[in-house]
Amino acid sequence: MDYALQQLLNALAFGAEYSLVALGLAVVFSIMGLVNFAHGEIIGVSAYSVFLAAALGLTSPFVAVLLAVGMAALAAVVFERVAFRPVRYAPTTTGLLTAFGVSIVVQNLFMLLISPKPQSVSILNGLNQMWFFGPFAVSSLQVMELIVSGLTILALVLFLNRSTLGLAIRAASRDFATVRLMGIKANRVIATAFAISGALAGIAAVFILARRGSVSPDLGFGLVLKAFVACVIGGFGSLPGAAVGGMLLGFIEVGLLVALPQEYAGFRDALTYAIIVALLVYRPEGLLGQRIELGDKEI
């Protein structure tokens, strides 16, 4: 019983993290059709800025969390301004390859300017403790991950539904031209979307740092690949799809962790991806994606 509960919490925590990152990807994709491969490097920038701040003498974990989220949002906005604006109206493949290029540049800059080797960061280790509820021992980090992700998603939903800018973002994902005719600045909508996406990545970065206690140049890359897969299962560009896909991915991973014998543990990633590809055979448009035939009018 204890074990089952523990694994359930595990799956929920993993799923919450994937959902956060996948939502960040989906927010940007739904508006401007950009497949942001550089999302992992936003996580990287956030983690490395905490590392640098700690090296310069920062000791307060609270400030470190604020710094991580702030820097991630800033990095996302800067990436958009520098690299993605020139390809804003270009075909999807062009944007995808640009983002891939940005990701390579930033990863290698970490390597060039800081170090190719992992660097230890201990400032956020305090978040990762064991809490005891009667007979149960749970990791504080996982509980926090679940609660914070839930609150963040709630805040995102409120923002998208209640504020003018949020409404503009949702409308822009349907028909950007009309949104601009209503007097909303395109640059503002896109910058906001990137800032949101960056902030979500920053929150994920805090949890990654607290769990691993170190930074390395490819820190966010693997996570973002998984988040992409989550987006694809959910239906690319759909926000609820990204959240559901992330959770599902978390459950598949933990399920395999439990089911696979120790000597096959290395095949977990391979099997996870294989299961997902198999899912796509039956639903190529994703679980929550709509089947759009060529020439259909949307809505």
């Binding site: 994709f29 497949v35 690299a83 020139p86 390809v87 270009a90 075909p91 999807t92 493949t93 062009t94 944007g95 995808l96 390859l97 640009t98 891939f100 290029g101 940005v102 990701s103 390579i104 540049v105 930033v106 990863q107 290698n108 800059l109 970490f110 390597m111 060039l112 190719p116 140049p217 690949l225 992409f228 897969v229 987006c231 694809v232 690319f236 096959y264 290395g266 095949f267 990633d269 391979a270 991806y273 294989a274 997902i276 590809v277 796509l280 055979v281 190529p284 448009e285 994703g286 060529l294 020439g295």
Partner: protein, 365 residues
């Protein structure tokens, strides 16, 4: 520009394709392919006759990259879907021949516990290569079934998932693939002459596919899916076809790599190769086979130069520090700048032979 390929496709489908006409087109595209391969042939022969051993080795590596990039162009250039998983096929080809053709004495050292009797099997290089390519073809057919059904972005992500699946199997199935360690002892049977022959073959094949009615129809459906579907073009089937051909060419590159290097390891066929070859294709221009060739030539030379700086050079008597990651930054910058300022790459829309005949016609006037 939009719809130009589409109107060609309409022409070709509407006009009664007489035997004479189609054979003319075939000869034209065959000659076109050979013209495109000419610079490669010249460089290859120069290296073969004049270059010192070290440069011959570099050239062999560049030729492998060339075949990979040409293979990548077959899928990406015609279907306009980004493929980030092609090095999985290179790896499958290389490991295929490694497992089949390594001498038994070597196998006792490297993979004594291989399943299915592979530990006691030793085939000659040619039949190993054929079987390895058949395996690549089967994997491509199965993965292509999924990928050809998906929309562009999802297809790219699944190609990436394929890469991770294959890499993770290489790493973890240690009995068969030796895991993280290098797989050594593969017979070194391929030198520069064979490499040249296969490079030219790959280029001609890619060109023939691009100019064939399937290639044309696929390019048309990438430009306007709706109009192409209205003409009765089956885009899924064509995507599958180009995916398999692309995988086979990449697999061939892997086979040749294993046969010239003699030693392979999984990390050779992972993201580093994807970065390199993708940057080459984008820089050269992915719409044409000429673009693939141009990109490989330019970036191979450029990267070699950057690598010499990366490992720490001595400038006017001062030893510069090692700059790990510099070549990665350069590759990324090449991709980003190309996409922003010249998405069609160096060579643009025209093949080399088309450019030459355009120039000749302009001068004749």
């Amino acid at each position: 520009m939009t719809g130009s390929e589409l109107s060609q496709a309409v022409d070709q489908m509407a006009a009664p394709t007489g035997a004479k006409r189609s054979s003319n087109a075939l000869v034209r595209s065959l000659i076109g392919g050979l013209v495109t391969a000419l610079p490669v042939l010249v460089i290859g022969l120069l290296v073969l006759n004049f270059a010192p051993t070290y440069y011959t080795f570099l050239a062999l590596g560049a030729f492998v990259n060339l075949i990979v990039v040409v293979g990548l162009q077959v899928f990406m250039g015609n279907s306009n879907i980004a493929n980030l998983g092609h090095s999985a096929f290179v790896g499958l080809g290389a490991y295929g021949v490694a497992i089949l053709s390594t001498p038994l004495a070597m196998k006792k050292l490297s993979i004594p516990n291989a399943p299915f009797g592979f530990a006691t099997l030793e085939l000659d290089p040619v039949s190993s290569a054929i079987i390895a390519l058949a395996v690549v073809g089967i994997v491509a057919l199965v993965s292509g079934k999924v990928i050809s059904r998906l929309s562009g972005v999802a297809a790219t992500i699944v190609s990436l998932a394929l890469l991770i699946i294959v890499h993770s199997v290489f790493l973890n199935w240690t009995d068969l693939f030796k895991g993280n360690q290098a797989f050594f002892g593969i017979p070194k049977v391929v030198g520069l002459p064979w490499m040249l022959v296969f490079a030219v073959l790959a280029i001609v094949l890619a060109r023939l596919f691009k100019d064939s009615r399937w290639g044309l129809q696929l390019r048309a459906s990438a430009q306007s899916p709706q109009a192409a579907a209205a003409l009765g073009i089956d885009a899924k089937k064509l995507r599958l076809m180009s995916w398999v051909l692309s995988a086979l060419i990449c697999g061939l590159a892997g086979v040749l790599f294993a046969y010239f290097a003699g030693t392979i390891s999984p990390k050779l066929f992972y993201f580093q190769m994807i970065f390199n070859t993708l940057a080459m294709l984008i820089l050269g221009g992915m719409a044409t086979v000429t673009g693939a060739v141009t990109g490989v030539i330019v970036l191979s030379i450029g990267l070699e130069f950057i690598r010499s700086i990366e490992s720490g050079v001595t400038v006017v008597g001062i030893q510069m520090p090692q700059l790990l990651g510099l070549s990665g930054v350069a590759l990324g910058v090449v991709i980003v700048l190309c996409m922003a300022f010249r998405p069609s790459g160096i060579s643009g829309r025209h093949e080399l032979d088309e450019l030459v005949s355009l120039l000749l016609r302009r001068n004749a006037k």
